[in-house]
Symmetry: C2
DNA sequence: AATATTTTGATAACAATTACTGATATGTTA
DNA sequence: TAACATATCAGTAATTGTTATCAAAATATT
């Protein structure tokens, strides 16, 4: 369990909303979730705090889907699947990492760079979308 | 060698610009490259044709870096490295694919989806950026 | 040549995100 | 407690990458 942070009520609410979903939401989705219970919440505040969380290493961006940044509070290294039909983003559960330090070293050597992180995204369509449509 | 396509002069020029660079440029970079030799080129035309190429399967988007879409005419499956300092995008050369059909099957089964494509991106800093700055 | 189709430049529209500003809340110090 | 400094915020304006519109120009077709 993480030590209590002295976040403002709104910052805490934004973080909790992000931490309690696996939907990898957009900033606007977080805003829409909280607006009913926090009527004076501003969309700018959501954006501002998502940036704060990124700086604090509490969240990361899992990519830009259809022009919208998608956020994740699950900082464990795991790939994602993006349904190119409904644009949902799904965690790919892994037993152990697809990508290990050897690959970082390989990329470092091949490209003449220092590797700090990586991101794996699969694309396709989810079963919900297959049922709805014929391909 | 690819058969001659009956592309318009501008479409051809845009494609050639993209095909002859490994910089994974933005739409605007392509525009800036061509503007001197094609003074009446419009930025909209570049965007329009980049979309056409995507539909024709001639190019793909390698991701969105700092809010800008980065394009690649190299359709072979290969990972990319993004320097988070200078935002350059570098091809990672591979002998054989990191990700094979077995992994597609694995993701399909674990997530209940159909996998059509994937994208691997490494992040870090390139040697140029290391030399310029102390970290 | 007459007509249809494609492509284009210029511009406006759009949408996601960021910047700004003054107000409010919170923390600190004495 | 009061006085001050700092952090956070709402509301709005500005910015920016991208897309849509539309009439003109180029090209293809008959």
């Amino acid at each position: 369990m993480q030590a209590k942070r002295n976040f403002s009520a709104k910052r805490e609410a934004i973080y909790e909303t992000l931490a309690s979903t696996k939907s990898h939401p957009t900033a606007e989705w977080v805003y829409d979730q909280l607006k009913p219970s926090i009527p004076d919440l501003s969309l700018g505040t959501v954006y501002r705090n998502l940036t704060v969380f990124k700086e604090l290493g509490l969240t990361k961006c899992v990519g830009v889907v259809n022009g919208k940044e998608r956020f994740d509070a699950d900082m464990s290294q795991h790939p994602h699947f993006v349904c190119t039909r409904c644009l949902s983003v799904i965690d790919v559960p892994i037993k152990r990492n697809f990508v290990d330090c050897n690959i970082y070293d390989y990329v470092a050597k091949e490209c003449g760079v220092t590797v700090e992180d990586h991101n794996i995204v699969f694309y396709g369509f989810c079963n919900g979308c297959r049922e709805k449509q014929d391909f």
